[in-house]
């Protein structure tokens, strides 16, 4: 049973619902960014050659180096795009801090990212739900994130769930 007297939903969330936020653009992706990412996520094994070997990658169906699908071109930006919905409060109505957790995500991939690509990201709050959970009154907020490259090709769509309790 949800306590009808408690809500973590803010006016700003109602205003932001369904509205795309501002677009953020990455620095150009480099082959070194990609190689380091692949080395880190495959460590201590050597990553697949398509992520770092130019000659091999040329002979692959991609015709050149590509980034792993989960590569983040926004790391080490001076301004990072929002990854959770706008309008979420950091505090409960009584002023106590809200604890945040990453509830999970589903990423759907379009064209691969490559060296030289510049990625633009935008996000919007999709919807939310509040219910009584193991951790007390809990709010689940769904955010959609869209990434496109410099040719306006879809690179990735992410549907993520932020948990606040």
């Amino acid at each position: 049973m949800s306590d009808a007297n408690v809500s973590y939903v803010t006016e700003e969330m109602h205003e932001a619902k369904g509205v795309w936020g501002p677009s953020h653009t990455s620095y150009p992706i480099t082959a070194t960014d990609i190689r380091r990412w692949a080395m880190a996520t495959y460590y201590p094994e050597k990553p697949p050659r398509v992520y770092w070997d130019i000659e091999y990658a040329k002979s692959s169906k991609y015709g050149g180096i590509i980034a792993p699908p989960d590569f983040n071109p926004f790391a080490w930006s001076l301004e990072r795009p929002a990854t959770v919905a706008r309008g979420l409060s950091g505090a409960k109505p009584d002023g106590k801090p809200l604890t945040g957790m990453n509830g999970g995500q589903t990423d759907t991939y379009g064209v691969p990212m490559r060296p030289g690509d510049v990625i633009s990201a935008r996000s919007r709050l999709v919807d939310w739900e509040e219910r009584e959970g193991r951790l007390g009154h809990t709010m689940y907020v769904r955010t959609e994130i869209e990434w496109r490259n410099q040719r306006d090709e879809l690179v990735k769509t992410r549907m993520s769930i932020a948990i606040r309790y």
Partner: protein, 138 residues
């Protein structure tokens, strides 16, 4: 050799893919993802966040392990189309994390060979930490 569409059946298991994870892996991931969160770097901060054993691993790195396990299975000719998971449990220092998966659907849609799997990352105790799904194209 990468797997082919013809070799796959409903119930086919993803070859297990494991990594022992500790600061060596977390620090590398923190560096490339610019993910410097105290409870992933410092045991005291991990305890303050409610984990008695100290610092704990990143959900994003477990996600990367799922993606990598799929890539290693299907090779460069295949394509990872979609991956989703829920972070239900944290992973501890020195955990051996193993990506597991099982094929639930296999279809040819508009000439494309598409396979859907249930996936998870299991810790050293055999406990699942992030149930999810994946869609690949072969």
């Amino acid at each position: 050799m990468s797997v082919t569409f013809d070799e796959i059946e409903i119930g086919t298991k993803l070859p297990t893919w494991s990594r022992k994870t500790s600061f060596a892996e977390w620090n590398r991931y923190a560096a490339v993802n610019e993910e410097f969160v105290p409870f992933h770097m410092d045991d005291e901060a991990g305890r303050r966040a409610g984990n008695e054993q100290g610092a704990f691993g990143m959900g994003n790195l477990r996600y990367a392990y799922i993606v990598n396990a799929l890539h290693d299975w299907i090779g460069d000719e295949g394509r990872v189309q979609e991956v989703g998971c829920q972070y239900r449990a944290i992973n501890q220092k020195d955990d051996v994390l193993t990506v597991v998966g099982e094929v639930t659907e296999k279809n040819t849609i508009d000439g494309k060979n598409v396979v859907r799997l249930d996936v998870n990352v299991v810790n050293s105790n055999g406990e699942p930490t992030c149930p999810g799904h994946a869609v690949i194209e072969l």
